[in-house]
């Protein structure tokens, strides 16, 4: 029997934003989601499904996307919210929402309280502080991504470059960021960047490389994979170019669900060519032996230093397209999301559809398990994401997953997903 799923709309977040909203990014742990629209960001509570706060006045042009800085960063208090915004005004903005005297449970209470009383909106808006502007890009900044530790931030722009910034002020609790790399190998706008997640128990794939791995998607129809070359003074280098899409690659999603034998996460891409593709790193079997050797030599750095220069493996990586998901979309696929819990992929785009895909564990074939037509009525849908449910009707708060879509109609809508 073919697997199937049902997708049911939940009431949209309140209030409606009325004009085009670009993207909604859930906080990694707290019940908050940040929606970029016009020149601002509205943060909604996932508990009450209504507005928590908003970030305004920092940008001269539209905000395209936002990213939460992981609170695991050194020196960053857990109860401080930090959001970074990517704007068409060529800058990225760093914002913080300070909880002066509280633990994160107090924060959650305040989120609920704030959302319930809508008449003190003005006070709430003062809570977000615009701390720092990251300048350097020549044109619109489109997307940003934090490395899993929160130490690095990647930004990308229509100027064809990817910039990597380091949070050098974290230990002193200061707002100080330095540019550590400018990557300019794409031939067109860079639409999306994403750092690979750190997976517990993963084999150290290539000994001479750091753990951080970045992917960038472009208007030049390609995807590039970047790594920090520890042997070359921390220089960031392009280790692979992924070619196959027949149009702008709009988005990237790393696989969050751990793979068997600690293999490196796969990459999902969505494109203007109306397709989604899965890419897999070719990993060599001999890794097991090398890992033992490295361990005996006392860990990463020693192990690396002990390998003679001539024997060092090339940084070059081989990535291959291992799947093209079944084609359902009829127009550009603007966004996709890959659940770290279930491995189910959701996609959306210009045709206004939501499509769910699941990989068969045995045959490794991807099948469509649900489709919703006209999910935002006649409007285009710009973004889709998985996030945890915290609302009153959730069966298991903080565990159960839902989808959130963001559309040209200014509606941000949660969807309940049931897998049969």
């Amino acid at each position: 029997m073919a697997p199937s799923a049902t997708i049911t709309p939940l009431p949209p977040f309140q209030p409606d934003l009325y004009t085009r909203a670009w993207s909604s990014t859930p906080h990694p742990t707290l019940p908050l989601i940040a929606t970029a629209h016009e020149k601002s960001v509205t943060v909604f509570s996932l508990s009450t499904l209504s507005k928590h706060s908003s970030l305004t006045g920092g940008h001269a042009r539209s905000v395209r996307s936002a990213a939460w800085q992981p609170s695991t960063s050194k020196g960053s208090p857990a109860n401080r919210l930090r959001l970074v915004t990517a704007s068409f005004d060529s800058t990225a903005g760093l914002w913080s929402y300070d909880e002066s005297s509280s633990s994160s449970s107090t924060l959650e209470k305040e989120i609920k309280a704030a959302a319930l009383s809508s008449d003190n909106e003005d006070e709430q808006e003062q809570e977000w502080e615009f701390n720092l502007v990251l300048e350097g890009h020549e044109n619109e900044v489109k997307s940003l991504s934090f490395s899993p530790s929160g130490q690095y931030l990647a930004t990308c722009s229509r100027d064809k470059t990817v910039w990597i910034w380091e949070d050098v002020g974290a230990e002193e609790d200061e707002y100080e960021w330095e540019t550590v790399a400018v990557l300019s190998e794409h031939d067109g706008d860079v639409k999306c960047v994403a750092f690979a997640p750190h997976i517990e128990g993963r084999k150290q794939y290539a000994k001479m490389q750091s753990q951080d791995c970045l992917a960038s998607a472009s208007y030049d129809d390609t995807v590039r994979i970047w790594r920090e070359d520890a042997a070359d003074g921390g220089e960031w280098v392009c280790v692979s170019v992924l070619e196959g899409h027949g149009g702008t690659v709009w988005g990237l999603q790393w696989e969050g669900k751990p793979r068997e034998k600690g293999k490196f996460p796969r990459l999902l891409t969505n494109s203007a060519d109306a397709t989604l593709r899965v890419w897999t790193l070719k990993e060599e079997e001999e890794d097991d032996d090398e890992e033992d050797t490295t361990t005996q030599q006392g860990g990463f750095k020693t192990g690396f230093g002990a390998i003679p220069n001539s024997m060092r493996r090339s940084l070059r990586e081989e990535w291959e397209c291992t799947a093209v998901l079944p084609k359902v979309h009829t127009r550009e696929v603007y966004s996709a999301a890959w659940s770290a819990e279930t491995g189910i992929v959701a996609s959306t785009g210009s045709d206004g559809k939501i499509v769910l895909y699941q990989e068969d564990e045995d045959t490794k074939e991807w099948k469509v398990i649900a489709t919703v037509e006209a999910a935002h009525g006649p409007y285009e849908i710009n973004h889709i994401t998985w996030c945890k449910r915290f609302d009153a009707s959730a069966e298991k708060k903080g565990e159960e997953e839902m989808l959130v879509t963001t559309g040209d109609d200014g509606v941000v809508r949660p969807w309940e997903v049931r897998i049969a």
């Binding site: 042009r61 068409f88 229509r158 706008d189 127009r331 603007y334 009525g377």
Partner: protein, 196 residues
């Protein structure tokens, strides 16, 4: 002052342009829209207080056809000549295609694709992108939200077809371009000659 790209274009008289044989005084128009609302256009049919069923009935009775699309964009002014895109034959009725055709429309949420091919007056016209942008904006502002507008240069009519087409098809680039004051002013001027 920018150098004029094509000093002597062929200009058709308004009476030579395609039009409906029996043109009533009250041509059905799309939802109200002003040219100066290019940036963040509001969606009047969404929040409109008038009952939505009336609007749906209206579309059902008289679905938008190619001539309607032509009428919406033929009156856009050329950026360098005191004439319209219709008179310059940049916009031509046979180069407008609707899919599915007006007789097969299903409902207010089913997508209708409007494909418009433009023929710039000279094949190296650097204003091709601006003209394409004006056409796309005009249609997106006036047509209901289930219409998807694809504006391209007619095959071989422009030296950098692919680049221009890709740019005009890129939603994000179009949105960002409309926030550029210089460009927006130019588009506003071009759209001033459009009625309603």
């Amino acid at each position: 002052m920018v150098e004029i790209q094509n000093a002597n274009p062929t200009v058709l008289d308004v009476s030579q342009l395609p039009s409906r044989s029996r043109k009533s005084a009250t041509v059905r128009s799309g939802p109200d829209s002003k040219c100066d609302s290019i940036l963040y256009p509001k969606r009047p049919w969404l929040s409109s207080t008038s009952s939505s069923s009336d609007e749906e009935d209206e579309y059902e009775e008289e679905p938008v056809d190619e001539q309607d699309i032509y009428d919406l964009i033929a009156t856009i002014s050329d950026p360098e000549h005191p004439t319209t895109l219709g008179q310059l034959s940049v916009v031509r009725l046979p180069d407008i295609h609707l899919a599915p055709p007006p007789t097969e429309r299903l409902g207010p949420n089913s997508l209708v694709t409007v494909a418009v091919e433009l023929t710039p007056t000279v094949n190296h016209c650097s204003l091709a992108t601006v003209i394409g942008l004006a056409v796309r904006c005009r249609l997106e502002q006036t047509l209901p939200p289930n219409y998807r507008v694809d504006v391209t240069m007619k095959d071989g009519s422009h030296a950098q077809d692919d680049q221009v087409n890709k740019q005009l098809g890129d939603k994000e680039r179009v949105a960002a371009a409309l926030e550029n004051d210089t460009l927006r002013k130019m588009l506003d001027d071009m759209l001033k000659t459009c009625s309603m």
